[in-house]
């Protein structure tokens, strides 16, 4: 088992190198080696999952620093395995899908190497035994995400998006890094399991625990695209859609939630869950409302991802590990489905992303429309698809927890219900109605059955089947069968609201599109639209803060101080010595009379001093 686990960890890294090197020989080889390695990773994970008998625990020391040993261990339990299944399973499907999606790209070796490296990072993250290994996986993924977002680095927007992604997530990571220091200082251990145990036993000081929990949560916010560190996630859509699907829809963005789940006992003991829930609620609302007005296909999905990750956070924040994590698992599958579906559309539609140019694509790609429809239903929370169960569980959790019942639960409800509106809008605008750009419509091709439709189909089936195994998933991720509380009437209310909203969207976006455009032209609507379209101007604000305050303010001020005070005082020595020299040069007249005078004066002074000295 140990060897299998170690293979799982090392294979992606060496695989990435291998794919790159053989890809240099022949581009196709890069894909095939990635495909095989992806499949092997999934197979290994499946084997580990099926023959699971207790956690795989491999403690290791990374290095010895003076008296301290810095650990780097592997720990794979059921929670890890579920995450591993998502990472390797979706990773494999994603690589498979990329065969067509990336077919024309000249840099395929680089692409597959980076994707495998990413999967390796994710595997490391979820198999980490301690904070150091976890942080390493965390950062590897961040790096891979950065490199893949700016995969088309020769263009301005992807390059900028990469910077944005790295810096936003890095801002959060710094707090995780600080948390490592704090934990090591306070507890002497970085082991995740022992940290949970120590926290539950009250062996760590409460205030410090709260601080550390908040620090870690800031990192989670950054990685999972929550308020206020979400703008990078929308920009990340500049990357290849396969990347968006895997990294920014299904796997990496989950890591923030995973880390909170992994340290759940710690969070419970630190009483910081309410912070998680609060930020989650705000993010859920922002994501859901902003998703309503986006023009670009992928941006709708990005905001939707943000909103749904928030729901998972809220589930955890409300105290229900099961609700949060099942939603995470369900979301990963249907969001990968939706993203890859979007990829299929974009690829077929000559890489246009603007939904207003689509319409009526149903006829061109019925299978994609069907599978995406399933994904959309699951996302909206329609039974019997998986999304329904977990979303319901999250909402119930917020309503039953007195701490979150109120503002948080209201925002959650709104965000949960609005899903149907934006995903319905997306589906209708793309697949239903009349084509709005005839030229484009004519160009749309039927995607390949094996490379494109098959992975979508597998995921569609998965999201359907998973709906029937919700309790098993919950048990796997939370370690116990959850005893769901049910609230009378909630289900009926929710479902009827969703249905009503769905009909409204159908009416406004398929039947009376002209009316919608008229409403949107109203000044008030335009103002609201502007706020929502720009993600509540959070990016503008942060950008302003970074550019004008940090760089243009502090850095510029320090630069001024350095030039005009510190370095100037060094260079001032030159000016000063020039002045002193000019002063002293007055003694140097070059006149013999002055020389003699000075000598005599010197003797006289000496005499004076001697007689005064002698007299005393």
């Amino acid at each position: 088992m140990h060897n299998l686990a170690l293979t799982l960890l090392l294979l992606p890294i060496f695989g990435a190198l291998f794919a790159f090197v053989v890809g240099k020989i022949n581009k196709k080889l890069a894909f095939w080696s990635a495909e095989i390695i992806g499949l092997a990773l999934f197979a290994i994970t499946l084997k580990l999952f099926l023959s699971y008998d207790g956690a795989i625990d491999i403690p290791m020391t990374w290095f010895t620093l003076g008296d301290f040993s810095i650990p780097f261990g592997i720990y794979i339990d059921e929670l890890s395995l579920v995450m591993l299944l998502i990472a390797t399973g979706l990773g494999f499907l994603d690589i498979h899908f990329a065969h067509d999606y990336m077919a024309e790209d000249p840099h395929q070796p680089r692409y597959y190497a980076k994707v495998l490296f990413f999967i390796g990072g994710m595997i490391l993250l979820v198999s980490a035994k301690d904070m150091v290994a976890l942080f390493s996986g965390w950062e590897f993924m961040g790096l891979a995400s950065y490199l893949l977002i700016s995969f088309w680095h020769e263009k301005k927007d992807p390059a900028d998006a990469g910077v944005s992604a790295f810096l936003f997530t890095r801002f959060g990571d710094i707090f995780l890094f600080a948390a490592i220091g704090l934990l090591f200082y306070l507890t002497g251990t970085l082991d995740l399991v022992s940290l949970n145990t120590m926290a539950s036993n009250g062996e760590i000081e409460k205030n410090m625990m709260y601080l550390i929990a908040v620090f870690i949560f800031i990192a989670a916010i950054g990685k999972s695209g929550q308020f206020p560190l979400f703008p990078w996630l929308m920009r990340a859509m500049e990357g290849p859609t396969t990347v968006s699907a895997l990294i920014h829809g299904a796997t990496m963005v989950n890591s923030g939630i995973y880390i909170v789940a992994r340290l759940f006992d710690f969070y419970v003991a630190s009483q910081a869950l309410i912070v998680v829930a609060a930020f989650g609620a705000v993010s859920a609302f922002i994501g859901a409302t902003s998703a309503l007005v986006q023009r670009e296909l992928k941006k709708v999905l990005a905001y939707s991802t943000m909103s749904h990750l928030s729901l998972a956070f809220i589930g955890l924040g409300a105290g229900s590990l099961a609700a949060g994590m099942t939603h995470l698992v369900n979301h990963a599958v249907f969001k990968a489905l939706l993203f890859l579906g979007a990829g299929a559309i974009i690829m077929s539609a000559a890489h246009i992303k603007d939904m207003w140019k689509f319409g009526g694509f149903k006829a061109k790609m019925p299978l994609v429309a069907f599978f995406m429809g399933i994904g959309a239903l699951s996302l909206s929370g329609i039974p019997p698809f998986s999304g329904f169960f977990s979303k319901d569980a999250v909402i119930v959790a917020t309503l039953t927890n007195p701490q979150t019942d109120g503002l948080i639960s209201t925002l959650t409800l709104i965000a949960g219900v609005l899903s149907i509106a934006y995903i319905g809008r997306l589906w209708f605008l793309t697949f239903a109605g009349e084509s709005r750009d005839k030229v484009l419509y004519e160009k749309v091709k039927q995607p390949s059955l094996f490379w494109i439709a098959l992975p979508l189909g597998i995921m569609a089936v998965a999201t359907f089947v998973m709906g029937f195994f919700q309790e098993n998933i919950a048990e796997l991720v939370s370690g116990a069968v959850p005893h769901e509380e049910h609230i009378e009437g909630l289900l009926i209310g929710l479902l009827s609201t969703i249905a009503l909203l769905g009909l409204l969207v159908y009416y406004y976006y398929v039947k009376r599109l002209d009316l919608t455009q008229k409403i949107a032209a109203q000044p008030l609507m335009q103002a609201i639209h502007k706020v929502l379209f720009n993600g509540y101007f959070v990016e503008f604000f942060i950008h302003y803060l970074a550019k004008e305050v940090v760089v243009g303010g502090f850095a510029k001020a320090i630069h001024w101080i350095d030039t005009n005070i510190i370095d100037a005082s060094v260079n001032g020595v030159l000016t000063l010595s020039q002045k002193i020299r000019a002063l002293l040069a007055k003694t140097d007249t070059g006149l013999a009379s002055n020389n003699s005078g000075a000598m005599l004066l010197g003797v006289l002074l000496l005499l004076g001093i001697l007689f005064i000295g002698g007299a005393m």
């Binding site: 010197g602 003797v603 005499l607 001093i609 000295g613 002698g614």
Partner: protein, 437 residues
């Protein structure tokens, strides 16, 4: 009795007959080599009022090596003769041990110095010579004034300088010191030096600032140290002030100068300040070694620098920094030697100048004057400013539109090699100074 003095003096007289003869240089060089040999054997001036010590003997050997280099470099017959005379009187001065013999040999050194610079060819040289002459006569007057006080207070001429006695004797001693400081170019007795060193021929300046000054410094220290050590309450503040003023003034005036000879003149004044530090720190047992080391290092590096400058002027017409630009491309060998001596003057390690400073400064620290040493150290750092600037001009600046011309390898290069080896040797082998006695 044959000694360095007698050989040098006799050959100096003899050399007058060999002017305009090719034999002059070999003869003089042989004489210096002989005197070196005799000094090594321990021969001294066997006269009353003269004695030697191991320190003095070592310095005499060094002096003779430097004289050898000076003569090797020199192309004017008359200067060669005068160099020999000057060498002879230096030996006298170094070995003088009572007041009268000291004053006699000191004055003879002064007289020969004046004769040396009175070989005037240009108006500038005349100006330099006259300034030195005026200051020199004044200094002699002051010296005699002091001597008069000293004798009036009951001091004896045929005895070593008294360390204590009447007030008049003390006053007289201090005034004599003031008169002697003229040769050491201590402020305010320095006015002449800046002009004279810069204006007279560079090979003369090498003798004046390199040889005469160091010999005087060492001799004055030998005679006056016991007196100063017993009058610390007066000598320390007084000489410390003079030392600080001298080195600071010298260094600042050297900064931003355009004329290379002038920079070296001011740097010579600044070095007088460092030497004076040994006088201040006289109560430390390291003051002896300090002044000796400083004298040895200084005689090599100052003569070397001025001789290099002389060659530069002779072959390339270089006298200002502007003309020196890119000189390393013109003559890399000469540029290298000049750089070496300048770095030694700046106190860069592995060269004699550094260890000399280290020992003198340590004497200061040992005497409890670390703040004074701090000032001296900062002064030394300041001096790097202009030395490094000369080096920068030679190496970093581009050669300005002159065609590259390689001067033939001459005796002058031999002189440079000797002086550079001296600077290097005493920069590494401090044992040759400390491990005697």
């Amino acid at each position: 009795m044959i000694s360095a003095f007698t050989i040098l003096f006799a050959v100096a007289l003899l050399s007058l007959l060999f002017h305009r003869s090719v034999l002059l240089k070999p003869l003089s060089l042989t004489a210096i080599a002989l005197s070196f040999f005799f000094t090594l054997q321990g021969a001294t001036v066997a006269l009353m009022g003269f004695s030697s010590s191991e320190h003095i003997q070592l310095f005499e050997l060094v002096l003779e090596v430097v004289l050898f280099a000076l003569v090797l470099h020199e192309e004017e017959d008359i200067t060669i003769t005068q160099t020999l005379f000057l060498g002879a009187s230096s030996v006298l001065l170094l070995q003088a041990d009572n007041l009268l013999s000291f004053i006699i040999s000191f004055e003879s050194l002064s007289i020969i110095s004046v004769v040396l610079v009175s070989y005037i060819k240009t108006k500038e040289q005349a100006e330099g010579a006259v300034k030195m002459f005026i200051a020199g006569s004044l200094a002699t007057g002051i010296l005699l004034l002091g001597l008069a006080f000293y004798v009036m207070g009951g001091g004896l001429l045929l005895e070593p300088l008294a360390t204590g006695g009447s007030l008049f004797m003390d006053v007289g001693t201090f005034i004599m010191l003031a008169g002697l400081f003229y040769k050491l170019t201590i402020v305010p007795f320095h006015g002449w030096a800046a002009d004279t060193y810069a204006l007279v021929r560079h090979s003369h300046a090498a003798i004046l600032s390199g040889v005469a000054k160091t010999v005087a410094a060492l001799a004055i220290f030998t005679i006056f140290a016991p007196f100063l050590a017993t009058h610390l309450e007066l000598s320390v503040p007084l000489l410390a002030t003079l030392a600080v003023v001298t080195m600071t003034l010298g260094n600042f005036l050297a900064l931003f100068s355009k004329n290379i000879a002038r920079i070296l003149s001011y740097s010579s004044i600044a070095h007088a300040g460092y030497m004076l530090l040994a006088f201040v720190a006289v109560k430390s047992s390291y003051a002896d070694e300090g002044i000796l080391y400083m004298a040895i290092a200084y005689i090599f590096m100052q003569s070397g620098a001025f001789l290099a400058l002389d060659s530069m002027k002779k072959h390339y017409g270089v006298s200002t920094l502007e003309e020196l630009q890119g000189f390393s491309a013109q003559n890399p060998i000469l540029a290298f030697f000049f750089t070496l001596q300048l770095f030694s003057l700046a106190g860069i390690p592995l060269l004699a100048g550094f260890l000399a400073k280290a020992v003198v400064f340590y004497a200061g620290v040992d005497a409890g004057l670390w703040w004074l040493v701090l000032i001296a150290l900062l002064n030394s750092a300041l001096s790097v400013g202009y030395y490094a600037w000369i080096v920068k001009t030679m190496y970093f600046d581009k050669l300005t539109a002159k065609e590259v011309f390689h001067a033939p390898v001459q005796f002058a290069t031999g002189a440079q090699v000797i002086l550079a080896l001296g600077t290097l040797y005493f920069g590494v082998f401090a044992g040759s100074i400390f491990n005697i006695s």
